[in-house]
Amino acid sequence: MSWEAVIGLEVHVQLATNSKIFSGSATAYGAPPNTQASLIDLGSPGVLPVLNRQAVLMAVRFGLAIDAVINQRSVFARKNYFYPDLPKGYQISQYEIPIVGAGHLQINDADGNAREIRITRAHLEEDAGKSIHDEREASSGIDLNRAGTPLLEVVTEPDMRSAGEAVAVLRKLHSLVRYLDVCDGNMQEGSFRCDANVSIRRQGAEAYGTRAEIKNLNSFRFIEKAINFEIERQSEVLESGGSVVQETRLYDAARDETRPMRSKEEANDYRYFPDPDLLPVVIDDATIADIRAALPELPDAKMQRLQSSLGLSAYDAQVLTSNKATAYYFEALAAQLPGHEKLAANWVLGELTAMLNKHDLDEEHSRVSPAQLAGLLQRIVDQTISGKIAKDVFEAMWDGEGNADEIIAAKGLQQITDTSALEGVIDEVVEGNPKQLEQYRQGKQQLLGYFVGQVMKATAGKANPAEVNRLLKIRLDASP
């Protein structure tokens, strides 16, 4: 009998503020240990937290983008537990009243049908520091640079039914937070992390099975593998007559498996209560209206527009809008090529993407700017060069040899469209291939391509292919 997976996600989105959520310390990644930890981050006796307004505005921005309820009065609570990288012995989080209430996201399922995923809530909280266990022999190190970094924890309903769907939701969220400029989305640096709650039930069953929470998921690939491993593991347990234990499991990427965390670390009673050091967060209507007015066009709307007003295919529109950098690059490019948006789309999805992938860059860091690329594509449009030559010019541009016109001029790549010049080359080619001419004239019309190729070769690819075709046909079809 087959099983159905039920998956819910908790995503920690690190907000891209300059300073921490309750102190003025910088949040930059990679600084030497404890150089970005103020007395407040250290939990020094007597210090008090002061809420970073920017973090609140970013949370609201996210909430509006998922069409969520914004709680105009939300409350910070203390989550109490002891751990060396938690300086105060409690984490300031939101518990009963989060800033963002119920909302939703749309994804496509495996068959391409739209599916709505419900977002339960999103709340603000501070990150903990980092314990470093492997650098010293007899002791552990603590780095509190990360302590107090603002996080938005996004919690979904258990609405996903496969690892693929879970990844689709994560990609959607990842794309959204970058569109909104609320997170840099860097998964290696931990700016976007995820825990997954996974259970399985008989196909068609109503009740949920017992779930396991998988922690430590920091790449889309690992998330998919971890969830699939967990589904497999649970079905094996159930099919062999056992039962799934509700527990927290860590994903080990090296072994591609999930393992239970020590149960001791789970036995916490967090003793949540409202933090008396912080007033409730009150957001007025005007602030919400301002944030709403300043929202950028969101990916779904952009995708629709690229199809309806630029005539792009659903596929192209979807890929072009799947992340902010691609979409913004494409739009900057297309704006300079009115009427040739399809050409722009092909170049972004083809040559540019290939080059970026090769160098492990995104569009924001492309060595060829949209304006430079537009300059190149203009020369295809006005037939100065062929699409094939354009690829060489693009590589030269990438290598910093100049803009398109400079490269075309320097390398003499301008297309030959001058009829008399082409006629001379065509005469030479036709006369130099008497056998093929004979065969053509006996009816082997497909040899036209051969002659075109010879002319292109003789002109080092610079001949205008359409003009070559036209003139060759006239020359070949002329009576001998």
Partner: protein, 487 residues
């Protein structure tokens, strides 16, 4: 030199009768001479005090000064003082040198105040007798077999014995008012939010409020207006403007409506305390004040509610003392759990441990609703009681403490009896109201305090009533015989 009046000292400094350095030396000499028997100080910062005094003298010569310039003062050892030992009365912080100044400390220093040292206190401000200090009990200058009250017992004893003219304190459930009453001095706790809590080591964040212990309402007004005001580093500090309290003291009190809560008239009140209070009220009536009977029906619930809310917050606030970054760390921990367990067990005394355990319990899953939530509801009711009362009266008056000072050790074995000693001060703290305790007579030779409670942010009125009373009486100028200046 007469330490009875800051205004008098300020005038003397300006007239050149004495310098701040001489005044500071006088206080340091008094401390040297008397503190061994009182144990009011944990740290005396003689060298830096004299340096600050000389700096103040320079300013005084230059003319541009505040009324407090050159005035010596002691800080309760709960306020962080940059580069100076800040123990909070605990073994946990026995060697803790604070890396920064509390806002209260900064503001007073900016007014030219000279810090003499740090005063003894109940451990982490938890106590009503100053017997829970790791640095030993403080003794009451009126009778050194008795307690001075707590938790600001060191500040109270130092002022009462004339070692310093003024000291800071903090009040979570009565910790400024009760020791002021028991040592015969003036104590003022402002409205919650009036003074920044930044740098004040937290006991119960929603209740803690800095205050002042001194010899008169006029002195309290001067010091309070220097300490108070919004601080961007404390989100719970009030953005309200601070009135010039010291300029609003004068005027009569004819027509003042004084509320007398029925619930403050309990059989537990010492007869001498009742008599002193009745006489004090009569003198206010003689000035044209009107007495109004009021009800504060939830008063009996204030002690139980307080002993849920305050321990709950304390259990969380004191979690940072884990032996990892600062404070006491046990020797040779075997592992992390051992480090936590022994550092905290060794570092905290019995009363602090009791409150951490109580607080942890009331916040636990399954008990939260029955204790913490219920206590917050009671707190709202207590606040509503006061608000309805203030619709009819201008101030509320009652005893500060049901009894005068009691003997050292008398209540240490019975925490609940000790807690009940704060019955009249705790409700005021739960409601976040301003209140003063002023000396209003003696019972069996020991000072009695009268508590004057005002509405939120109405410190001016509280201080005005206290000041008027002190113009009519001289209880606030009485000195324990052994500590008179000529003794």
């Amino acid at each position: 030199m007469n330490l009875d009046s800051l205004v008098g000292l300020a005038d003397g400094l300006r007239r050149g009768d004495f310098s701040s350095e001489e005044l500071t030396r006088h206080c340091l000499d008094r401390i040297e001479q008397h503190d061994a028997g009182l144990n009011a100080f944990i740290t005396v910062t003689a060298d830096s005090a004299l340096a600050a005094a000389r700096e103040a003298d320079q300013k005084l010569r230059n003319g541009a000064t505040h009324a407090l310039t050159g005035i010596p003062l002691a800080h309760k050892d709960i306020f962080c003082t940059d580069g100076v030992l800040t123990t909070c009365g605990s073994k946990m912080l026995e060697n803790f040198i604070a890396p920064y100044d509390a806002t209260v400390v900064t503001r007073l220093r900016e007014h030219g105040v000279v810090m003499l040292g740090k005063t003894n206190m109940d451990e982490f401000a938890m106590g009503s007798s100053n017997e829970s200090s790791f640095f030993g009990a403080v003794r009451n200058p009126w009778n050194t077999d008795l307690v001075p009250g707590g938790s600001s017992g060191g500040s109270a004893a130092a002022v009462a014995a004339g070692l310093v003219p003024v000291a800071t304190g903090t009040d979570t459930g009565g910790s400024v008012r009760q020791p002021a009453a028991l040592t015969g001095i003036t104590g003022m706790k402002p409205t919650y939010g009036r003074v920044s809590r930044y740098g004040m080591i937290a006991f119960a964040s929603s209740l803690d409020q800095a205050g002042v212990l001194c010899r008169s309402a006029r002195d309290a007004a001067l010091v309070l207006e220097a300490m108070a005001g919004f601080d961007e580093r404390d989100s719970t500090s009030a953005p309200a403007a601070v009135p010039a309290f010291s300029q609003q003291l004068d005027g009569d009190i004819a027509g003042l409506r004084i509320g007398l809560p029925a619930q403050f008239d309990t059989p537990d009140i010492d007869r001498g305390v009742s008599a002193a209070l009745a006489a004090a009220l009569q003198s206010l009536v003689d000035e044209g004040a009107e007495l109004v009977d009021i009800e504060l029906p939830h008063t009996p619930l204030s002690v139980p509610a307080y002993y849920v809310v305050a321990p709950a917050e304390c259990s969380s606030n004191l979690s940072r003392f884990d032996g990892v970054r600062f404070g006491h760390r046990c020797d040779n921990p075997r592992d992390l759990e051992d480090l936590y367990r022994r550092s905290r067990t060794e570092g905290f005394g019995a009363e602090v441990t009791r409150r951490i355990l109580t607080g942890t319990y009331v916040l636990s899953a399954g008990y939260f609703d029955a204790y913490y939530l219920q206590a917050q509801k009671v707190r709202a009711l207590i606040n509503a009681d006061f608000q309805s009362a203030f619709a009819h009266v201008d101030v509320i008056i009652g005893p500060t403490s049901p009894t005068p000072a009691f003997a050292l050790g008398a209540k240490t074995d019975d925490p609940v009896t000790m807690y009940l000693n704060d019955i009249f001060t705790i409700g005021v703290s739960l409601a976040g109201l301003p209140a003063a305790s002023v000396p209003c007579g003696f019972a069996d030779g020991l000072p009695v305090g009268m508590q004057i409670i005002g509405d939120h942010f109405d410190e001016s009125r509280v201080l005005k009533v206290a000041h008027r009373y002190q113009q009519l009486t001289d209880w606030h100028l009485r000195r324990p015989p052994a500590y008179r200046s000529d003794a």
